[in-house]
Symmetry: D2
Subunit: 255 residues, 4 copies
């Protein structure tokens, strides 16, 4: 039975690329997303055509019991050694007035409560085995709030503190929690692409992406995700940032 | 009609002391707490016997519409110029396993969603008047997670990012948002006292409190809350910490 | 004999205003600056004409022994209860190539070594008396580096960590160290005015300052400096920020 | 001609291990340290016996012109593609009184000015070539001051802000600056070993190190250093932490 890398939030971006990277290195990649069974199958097929092992799972992460049930199912495929929590809650800029209570709550259900539920579901087995890795994709909003980011920042900021709490409680039991701050636009058709619309996304790709590597490339990010998951336990990273070389860090401004 | 200072979370601690300080300086103090009508009346009586103006309001902050209704009522008493969000979500140390989904959600409903709802309720009038102050009592858990603090840290970390988002959107419209990190034990019978139990609380008061000022004294904290709320708009503070002189800051350890 | 507030870096800005505020509240203000004896005398005269007590001292802070000698002299006037370290090292934006080793060293000698020397000079007497306050004016550069800020950021970043070290070692001995992050342009002719030149400074005052309070006003900042210095020891602030309401915080960008 | 990895501060610890890792992957490792020519030769021999290329250079980093001259010499061997600045300034805990001005200055000369000089020396060629990597080993003291750490924290805090300044100015020109926070004790005889003394160091190794991986192992850390230096420019890390799984992060305390 193969060791499993479980990806919560696997589209054609970070999630899919991390899945492919782990699958190329002997893991079974269990890929989960909310909808688009075709897109999901496409990712699975891509991995299998490269000789890897993968499975696709539709998952509504905010449904009661759904994450818990998924974890049980996937443990049947093999031991979950690595899990990537890759759900975001970015909804673009919304004024306070324009942010409904329901929206604010849903963002938190997905981005913060979702990780809490996942942690409760995967950690007991990891603790029993004395090892496991929980990778969490994060965003700039986890370290600073901004106008129009009420929902996103509140969800991601809570998630960051949750990661530190999990790390404090479980690192010494062999469970590696890593909080990866993605500080920039990712070349991901399933998230950024959908947010911007096809035309604007293609334009951004042409101007900032193509020759200039000005968008974060998911396949390259996956190299770092994989590295972090395989650090020796004497030298673990809990938090790191990732951005394109041509981008300013969030704490810098154009002059 | 008096200007109003609205206190969400007014017990015999920070909330009550801040209310008394503002009332002593010409504000009507609208004091809210979930239960203990007698304790609430006692705070109101105390203020009135000193010649101040106050009212008591029982409030279940997580009930749908409750905060919104309260704000409407209190605006009938006078313009809400200052609001203190003083609800916490500290439940003592709980392991991940020992933290139920319901507990985690309730902590967030109180500490994070509660502030979001309050902001949505009070800001429109403040924006129309071109001024207003939102003080938020925060805790060390807002800046670092810890073992057993999953619920508390996630709620407070989200709240801190929400404060930054509110500040980014509303400071230039004259609304002052301040995030006050209370980094230590407060000499407050209604919170710390209840968490520790009467006996242990008295003992702590004797050993660290009394002569040594080793517990944060709410009446002294209220001086800083009042100062922050009255800073000239050319020099506003968004974040500050408060701790007893004899305490180590959260980033320091005993040698 | 009066208690003394010693100001290292007293021009027509933060230093002068803080001196005036303390003098108006019963302190002797010992004002120090490097040059411009006339400007210094003008500040002293202003305080005295308001019935306050003040003295002016020319000080080359990077000269060996100068700070130490000054502290000795001023202790003859009265006990130094509060000291404000108000020297900056902002030299405008300089590329790495354009920043000479001498410049980098001088910035550090002023902004970081200067505080270390001051602390060594004033703390023994404060420790013996069981109380004292060290206020440190800081800048955004203490919390994030930026292009062209090599010298400034390195000096201020070191200074911030030094403040934390001093606080960790001396808070419990009654010495209050406060690190005040000034995150924006100050309406100060002697610093910003000289850096921008008279014409541009006046223009900035007209556009951002005057009606809009878009520059930090030193007299208003002084209110907060004074408040921090008089917090009860059960509730001390170690770090806080100050900015004009209309300014974005350093962690926010214009959309 | 080989590409070069230049190591400033190469003992039997991080520096030596990073040198060996890069040498095993096709780089010439130029190893520098202040003294102990034998130890240096031993590192070079070790690399060469594994088929790698290395050279040893004695360097007094605080001597005027020494770093600059070294960079010139090493560029004769091959293009410096990666440089690791690995000098520390940890001198153990010293009270403020026990920290001489000379000590404070020397710490800064080594840990902060040294990096500034190195950056000025290596960056022009890197900029001309459109690429280069500057790795900086850092410590907990860069992010929080502590009692007895006046010199160390001030030097490391300044260095961190300098790294951010360099990154802001040069990332978009292809120069990758990474600030690696080593948050724990490293299994390094040349630094920790000398600070603790042989006996205590061996004891620590037995109790926390050996079976438990409770000390950071330099050979494992080198894996991450190497990974960071080889990230694709679309996904660079500027800051990350490293600690042993069994250690608490600096922001956590034992309960």
């Amino acid at each position: 039975m193969k060791k499993v890398c479980l990806i919560i939030g696997a589209g054609a971006g970070i999630g899919g690329s991390v899945g492919a990277k782990f699958a190329a290195n002997g893991y079974h990649a269990a890929l989960c997303r909310r909808s688009d069974a075709d897109g999901l199958q496409h990712l699975v097929d891509g991995i299998e055509s490269n000789g890897g092992s993968a499975s696709g799972h539709l998952l509504n992460a905010v449904e009661a019991g759904a994450i818990e049930k998924l974890v049980e199912e996937v443990e049947q495929i093999g031991q979950i050694e690595v899990v990537l929590f890759n759900l975001g809650a970015q909804i673009g800029n919304r004024s306070l007035e324009g942010t409904a209570l329901k929206t604010f709550e849903l963002g938190w259900q997905m981005a913060c409560m979702g990780l809490f539920r996942l942690a409760k579901a995967v950690i007991p087995a990891m603790e029993a085995r004395g090892k496991g890795t929980i990778l969490v994709t994060s965003a700039t909003a986890a370290v600073r709030g901004n106008a129009g980011q009420h929902s996103h920042a509140a969800a991601m900021g809570g998630r960051r503190m949750l990661c530190q709490s999990l790390n404090a409680e479980y690192a010494s039991k062999g469970i590696h929690v890593a909080h990866i701050i993605v500080d920039g636009a990712v070349d991901a058709p399933d998230t950024l692409g959908k947010m911007l619309g096809a035309e604007m996304f293609e334009k951004l790709r042409e101007t900032r992406g193509k020759e200039h590597d000005g968008l974060l490339l998911p396949t390259e990010m996956a190299e770092t995700y994989f590295h972090i998951a395989h650090q020796h336990r004497s030298a673990w990273t809990h938090e790191l940032d990732l951005r394109a070389y041509s981008d300013l860090a969030w704490w810098n401004h154009a002059p």
